[in-house]
Amino acid sequence: MSVLQEISSNVKNMKTLEYSLLARWTKQIKEDLRQGVKKPFKEVIDVSWGDPHRGGVKPLTFVRQVLAACLYPQLMNGEKLPVDVRQRAQKLLDGCAGWSVGSYSATGGLPEIVQRVSEFISRRDGGVPSNPENIFLCCGSQWALTRILNVLVNAEAPYPTGVLTPAPCYSTTTLSIEGLGGVVVPYYLSEERGWELQVEELHRALESCKGACHPIALYVINPGNPAGQVQSRKSMQEVIRFASEKRLFLLADEVYQGCIYGEKEFVSYKRVLSEMGPPLSDTVELASFHSASKGFMGECGLRGGYVELVNLDPAVKKHIYTLFCADSSPPVLGQIALDLMTNPPQPGDPSYLLYYQKACEVINSLQGFSCQAVEGGAFAFPRIHLPAKLVSLSGVLASPGSDYGQEEGTFHIRFCILLPHDVLGELLRRLSDFHTQFMKDFS
């Protein structure tokens, strides 16, 4: 019989998240509610995932109409669907083998979609060129990140491979590194300074690798998860110089680039790198990740993401391509979601007004939110105690801060804020009531 001793040690080393215990309790609580057991709340608000649809945000009509037409082209007969929907579906299907979204695509994605994604990137970055050959569409950005990490983490090297990651950090990233046999090297973001990334801390983290692991990559997430901070251009330049000096491969997770609130602006690592000019712009190796899961589209379940590679060794890129080949191709509907995200309806298109109205609704619901200075991203990360009590007493499922890495002696929860206005209001009420009561009980 296969026993625990006889399975991959990399898999065993992956931390078991406290969240999984909370999720099991929540399942039981939901079952109790279904059975009519009386609780201080009528339903559980699950804000543990960065999942707008789960939180009640409605999908964008244009997106879903195009998907439906691609799935069942008979819908394009007649005038029921707006003309721009029909045209877009037609164009997408023309790019699919056998005119079906059920066919495999090329490994990196349907070529026409990859082309349009590269044009989006270039537009976003003020004209910095983007080559479709450096872009791979994937089954979600996490899948792409795991594949790139797979290339970086060398299990046969004398020292284990280290990847500098922020603390706090999105748990899936740290688990991916551990699962590949790599070592997570945390650099602590400064909570007192709005979760700022400080270069001195990067230096300290790198020092800590001596004798323990061989650091090969630096992972940054901007806007941040869980903390929602948006990096300044100056900070990004410091990171790039650090990566160059210390010979680190830069992994830039930018999936929340569509979620910026307040006055800060998102600028991509690729753009900052390009504007710093040679030699940095020609040498720093970078992988940037984006996805259709976040922002006001929030199509997490469709699994649409991409990675863009910058300044990679062409021989290595060939191997990356072959690695992606063994995955066949990314889900076609996810690719379509990416296409719609990067090429939304334009002014004058029949679907334009409705599309932007819906998009603004999501962003505007966050106007009244001021518990922390959340500059971007999909989450808030306030300090609070005992997430277990939170779910059983208030019916709020949030993720425990311990799963993300936090300074010793501090406690946090992470919860998603991409919610309809009324749900967000209810959530905040429950959180503040819980906190007040908790402090009373334990003072």
Binding site: M1, V3, L4, E6, I7, S8, V11, M14, S20, D51, P52, H53, R54, P59, L67, A68, L71, Y72, A97, G98, S100, G102, Y104, C139, G140, Q142, W143, T146, N150, L152, N154, E156, T172, L175, I216, S244, F249, P279, T283, E285, G298, E299, C300, G301, L302, R303, D313, A315, V316, H319, T322, L323, C325, A326, S328, S329, P330, P331, V332, L333
Partner: protein, 491 residues
Amino acid sequence: MTSLAVNGVTCRGKVLTLDSMNPNVRRVEYAVRGPIVQRAVQIEKELREGVKKPFTEVIKANIGDAHAMGQKPITFFRQVLALCSYPDLLEDNKFPEDAKKRARRILDACGGHSIGAYSASQGIECIRQDVARYIEKRDGGIPSNPDNIYLSTGASDAIVTMLKLLVCGEGRDRTGVMISIPQYPLYSAALADLGAVQINYYLDEDKCWGLDVTELRRALNAAKQHCKPRVLCIINPGNPTGQVQSRECIEDVIRFAKEENLFLMADEVYQDNVYAKGCKFHSFKKVLFEMGPEYSSSLEMASFHSTSKCYMGECGFRGGYMEVLNMDPEVKAQLTKLVSVRLCPPVSGQAMLDLVVNPPLPDEPSYASYVKERTAVLAALAEKSHLTEEMFNTVPGITCNPVQGAMYTFPRITLPQKAIAKAQEEGQAPDMLYCMKLLEEEGICLVPGSGFGQKEGTFHFRMTILPPTEKLKVVLQKIRDFHLRFTQEFS
């Protein structure tokens, strides 16, 4: 590593090079989308640009993609998916009630009633229940527990996940994984990536690609010298060979796996693709249980299925599942943890899988058209399987085993010595030389047998039987003509 100071900033060699990258990744190959396909894509580009060639299109008979070759999706499945994507359509009376019922059920199980929400990592619960019920029905009532079902991004995702879980140990204790030769190169790619030891067991071409336990034993005993064999993978119906294992053979394999304490991985994605008279699909699980509790309560196994093949051919949805049996609970907990890292399989793929395992019932409005479409697809594949075998066997120098199942033919080609010598000079596998030439001269893209593994000194190619019948006849004729020319040219 060179460093030159320019304006005070050092230039340097790359951080990520062939030397510094994961050496396992360097060893990964995947012939189905390999160099020959890249050349085919290039040729298509040239054709589009107006370059003159002896053909007007490239026929991509390299990949098991039915829709790409003109097969139509099952109407009912697409109706339900459209309803799930754009629920406003639930008000449209052009959609049948049974499609709407299934769409509502799927949406009720999704977060926020949207297929755009993440699902649980193991997959949507009611879909796992439907999968369990399908398995029970298929296997004559043998119970299936939904908790043992893991939905996945195509079967490939589940296969790789299981291998990731099972591969461990160092040096002589490194996990060895038994795989058939010829094999579907996902297995060799995954084993290379994981640094596992690949243990080849040869299928017998002279016995219609049959599997003999003595060969399993030979391979295992040889492997014990340098690794720890722990897993046995079998593909039934086979890819690329198409053989459908007999019940006796499956029993033999199960007995062998139990004796040698091996984890059995049964890839059954072609379970509906059975064409030859006298052949029948027997699921490993069913046979296992019918062998009695001595086996069914102890043998550890994972079975895999997918939405990509059979009669639906929905590759682009990346829908699949695995069912695990007799897994140690602590190991299962590790498996559950591992799948959580990729968040969840595409929800649209999960929905598609739900329809495959829960199609219209005889008393439902869409039943008649569903059965008609399904029967037509499978009948066409059966016809093409016979046609292909017959045609290839008329060509001197090509011998073709019956295509008992799956979607491919893997004929053996006799190559003139001069051609073999030329290939060796060019550092190419001889069947790659053959296939490349076929591509350049006739615009037909096949995969050389070297990409799947074959007995030393033999050569093959894998061709799909997916093109529409009339086109397939043309393809077969062209290959015949090419083979005769090739033999002549290198005589």
